[in-house]
């Protein structure tokens, strides 16, 4: 069996793998958006720029200080997350009492500033970032060659997503978070420092974006605009999944990555648009999204 529906198996599995990789990033990014949205009620338009910052952070660590991929995976999310917390403290905090759309506009402006500054400095062609030594090469599975790094991306992203789900749904800290989403005033009355929790949550969501950025660096190269178009696709993923459930957004992310990969095999002209078409169909059938609840 070397072809399915007239498509060579090699190509089919190759695209499926690319779909899974893209899906890993959709899942990580939409998870971060959902976590932030849950507590802050804003859509973080700067998410794509923060993802790019994560990749650049890894690039600087490697080229300025010689710190490699594994440490970057830890340091970049912390650094970018801290930067996010600074933004939350100084700017976003002032907008909580206003219409939530202002948060969207502010973060859109921040994204323009960050991406513009980096594009002025580094142009819009990509900078190379090497695959860490431990993960070079690949395994030959009978039907295709599986590059180790790509397998790692899928596994690591799944692990982080499930870890986040576990913390939010099954731990005491997570119960505070969920309580904060439901009724922040009541939670404050119980003596929880809600403003600090909000800051940390924003930092965590931004850190997730930066983590995705570091993982993306060896695959897509480091590019100032790497997050600009991606964030729009992730918005569509968020609309399709609905932001009500963590597992839902993870599942939607991977699922749509695979659908996109399959479209590349069977009808490549639509591969850029298929996610938006799925979004339109879902909105017509189930306006709240696949896993969402409409308020």
């Amino acid at each position: 069996m070397d072809s399915i529906f007239g498509v060579p198996t090699q190509a089919l599995f190759g695209q499926l793998l690319i779909g899974l990789i893209n899906g890993s990033f959709y899942a990580l990014l939409s998870l971060g958006l959902a976590v932030i949205f849950g507590l802050l009620n804003i859509i973080n338009f700067a998410h794509g720029a923060q993802y790019m910052l994560g990749a650049f952070c890894a690039y600087f660590l490697l080229n300025k200080t010689g710190i490699g991929y594994w440490w970057a995976l830890l340091i970049a999310p912390l650094a970018v997350g801290l930067f996010g917390m600074l933004i939350e403290r100084t700017m976003l905090k002032q907008l909580y009492k206003l219409d939530h759309l202002y948060g969207l506009l502010l973060t859109f402006g921040l994204a323009l500033v960050i991406q513009g500054l980096f594009r002025n400095e580094f142009g819009s062609s990509g900078l190379p970032y090497p695959i860490p030594e431990a993960l070079t090469g690949g395994h030959n599975l009978e039907f295709m060659v599986l590059p180790n790094y790509r397998a790692w991306v899928v596994v690591a992203s799944l692990a982080v997503c499930l870890g986040t789900w576990f913390v939010i749904e099954k731990t005491k800290l997570g119960s505070y978070l969920r309580a904060g989403t439901e009724n922040p005033n009541l939670l404050r009355a119980f003596g929880v420092n809600v403003p600090r929790m909000i800051t940390l949550t924003y930092g965590f969501g931004v850190g997730l974006a930066a983590f995705a950025g570091v993982m993306a660096a060896p695959i897509y190269q480091v590019n100032p605009l790497m997050g600009a178009d991606l964030i729009i696709v992730v918005f569509a993923v968020v609309v399709i999944g609905g932001m009500g459930s963590i597992l839902g957004s993870v599942l939607t992310g991977f699922g749509l990555g695979v659908i996109e990969g399959l479209t590349k095999v069977f009808y490549p002209e639509a591969s850029n648009t298929v996610i938006f078409i799925v979004m339109a169909i879902v909105l017509i059938i189930k306006p709240a999204g696949l896993f969402g609840t409409q308020k």
């Binding site: 700017m91 939530h100 759309l101 506009l105 859109f108 500033v113 002025n120 609309v239 938006f276 909105l283």
Partner: protein, 323 residues
Amino acid sequence: MTDARERLAGVPAQAADLRHHRTAFAVVAVFFLAAPLVLYPVFLMKVMCFALFAAAFNLLIGYVGLLSFGHAMFLATGGYVSAHVAKIWGLPPELAILAGTAAAAVLGIVAGMIAIRRQGIYFAMITLALSQMMFFFYLQTPFTHGEDGIQAVPRGMLFGLIDLSNVWAMYFFVFAVSAAGLLLIYRIVHSPFGQVLQAIRENEQRAISLGYKTDRYKLLAFVLSASLAGLAGATKVLVFQLASLVDAHWSMSGEVVLMTLLGGLGTVFGPVAGAFVLLGMENYLAQLGAWVTVVQGAIFVVCVLTFRRGVIGELGHWLKKPL
């Protein structure tokens, strides 16, 4: 809440409103009639087209409370269709513009039916996603010529009489179209229909309980806004004789949001002022090159944090008269 009630029954207040709005309209008209003596006419035509575009956008955000982050798709659709009709089909400019506007209206019906199924932040994300889909469509479909765009669009003879290749004929034509568009938007906002829209913005549940089918009102407002944005795009294409992907890109959607925010959300003249200031900045600070994006982003941040009323909103606040 009292505010909402006053808006619902706000008809008597309009007589007073109209008087100073009339003066303001006259000031704006005189400005654009006299300005070409000092400023470059093509620049002013661009400003007028974008003022109409921003005013169409403002109809949604300012009076229905819906933030569309995908209005570029209507600008581009109006532009591409009228360019194709004028260049390939060889029809006169008035029909080309009409075709572009109609195409934007049709797209508005489809996009609107999908987007108004969610509110608030979701509405913004959905319109952005739909607009990105249209961007890829225009990138791939043959009639738009991809990255090249439709070039050398003929301006043609208006009504078979007026040669629009004359810059003054074109100038006054654009002036007439934009003025008519702005007056129409003003009329819509101050009609009973517009009052219902504002009631929906203030409290949708209450509007529903009063028996209004709010989805129909929102859809109609969306289609009107889309058509007027298409009209702006079609007119702009005749001015520059070029329809390109720039109009379809998400940064164009961001730009119209910024113009309206800078001028003042929900003000009659804010979009005009916003378009003038922002395009002037881009035009005269062209040596900044790639810094324009950074400056735009910074203006966004400053406006949201400290200047939410916008230029005209502040002016109106200071004069104690809504402008």
